[in-house]
C-alpha cells in the first residue's frame, strides 16, 4: 500500500519534471483563486447594497462558484490539451520519432488533467471559503455580521494569495498581500460608487 503510493508519487514527480506541471498549476491556482474571491466579493457587496437575504447570497455565490469551476475545468482542459498536443507534434518533428505511448506523452496527458482540475477547483474552493460564514454561522450571528465576516474572509484570502506570490518571488510578502487587498478595495469601491447611483 505504502510502496504503491510511493511509486505513484515517484511517477508524478517524473511527470512533473517532464511536463512542468507544478509551475503551470501554481499559476492557474493563483489566477483562479483570485478570480473566485473577487467574484464572490462582488456578489457579497452587491447583495449587501441591495439588502439581499442570506439564502440568496448562498445560492448565487455557490452557483457562481460552480460555474467558475466548470468553466475552469473545461477551459483549461481544452486549451492545455491543444497546447500540449502542439508541443508533442513539434517535438516529434524535432526528434524524428513518434511519441505515442511514451513517458513524454503520458506526462503531457497527466499535466492536462491535473492543470484542468486545479483550474476548476481553485475558484470553487475560494468561493466556498469566502461563503463559509453564510454556510455555518447563520444560526449564531446577525445577517449584517455574517456579511462583514464574509467580506473580511475575502480580504484575508486576497492577502494570503499575495503572501503566496510574495513567497514565490522572494519579494516582500506584506507588500504583495497589500497589493492584492488593493484589488479587492478597488472592486468594492467601484461597486459602491456605480451601484450607489443605480440602486439609490
Amino acid at each position: 500500500m505504502l510502496s504503491k503510493l510511493r511509486e505513484k508519487l515517484r511517477l508524478l514527480s517524473d511527470y512533473n519534471k517532464l511536463a512542468h506541471i507544478e509551475k503551470i498549476a501554481r499559476r492557474y491556482f493563483v489566477m483562479n483563486s483570485f478570480d473566485g474571491v473577487l467574484a464572490i466579493l462582488g456578489i457579497l457587496v452587491g447583495s449587501l447594497i441591495a439588502g439581499a437575504p442570506a439564502a440568496l447570497v448562498v445560492s448565487t455565490g455557490i452557483a457562481a462558484g460552480i460555474a467558475m469551476g466548470v468553466s475552469g475545468i473545461w477551459g483549461a482542459y481544452l486549451t492545455e490539451r491543444a497546447e500540449r498536443q502542439k508541443e508533442i507534434r513539434d517535438l516529434e518533428r524535432a526528434t524524428l520519432t513518434k511519441l505515442k505511448a511514451t513517458q513524454i506523452e503520458r506526462a503531457a496527458k497527466a499535466a492536462v488533467v491535473i492543470i484542468a482540475l486545479v483550474d476548476g477547483i481553485a475558484p470553487l474552493a475560494a468561493a466556498l471559503i469566502v461563503l463559509m460564514p453564510f454556510l455555518i454561522l447563520r444560526p449564531f450571528l446577525a445577517l449584517q455580521q455574517i456579511y462583514y465576516l464574509s467580506i473580511g474572509i475575502a480580504f484575508a484570502a486576497l492577502f494570503m494569495l499575495g503572501v503566496f506570490l510574495g513567497n514565490l518571488s522572494r519579494e516582500n510578502i506584506i507588500k504583495m498581500g497589500l497589493i492584492m487587498i488593493l484589488a479587492g478595495l478597488a472592486s468594492v469601491g467601484l461597486s459602491y460608487i456605480l451601484l450607489g447611483t443605480v440602486v439609490a
Binding site: 517532464l18 524535432a94 511514451t102
Partner: protein
C-alpha cells in the same frame, strides 16, 4: 561467449528529461554498472548526447526502450566492447 561490457550510443534527445535523470534511468537497467552521458551539441528543441554504458551483459533492448520512452532516439551504436573481461577503457 563473451558478454557486452561497453556500448557507446549516439542519441538525439529532447531537453527534458535532463541527462541527470536519463542517466539514472539507464543505470537502473540490470547489468549496467556505469553510465556516462556527454552532450555533444544543443539545438533549440533537441540535443545530441553520447551515451557510454558500462557493465556486464546488459540488455540493449531495455536501454533502447528507456531512451525511446523519454522521447529520444538512438541514431547509431558507435562502439561495442564484448568479452570475458574489461580490458579496454
Amino acid at each position: 561467449m563473451g558478454t557486452v561490457r561497453l556500448m557507446v550510443l549516439d542519441v538525439l534527445k529532447p531537453h527534458e528529461p535532463s541527462i541527470l535523470d536519463l542517466s539514472k534511468k539507464i543505470a537502473g537497467v540490470p547489468g549496467v554498472a556505469n553510465v556516462d552521458i556527454t552532450i555533444m551539441s544543443v539545438d533549440r528543441k533537441v540535443e545530441t548526447a553520447k551515451i557510454t554504458i558500462e557493465g556486464t551483459d546488459f540488455s540493449y533492448d531495455k536501454i533502447q526502450k528507456i531512451i525511446n520512452d523519454y522521447g529520444a532516439t538512438v541514431k547509431s551504436i558507435d562502439r561495442v566492447v564484448t568479452g570475458k573481461r574489461t580490458v579496454i577503457g
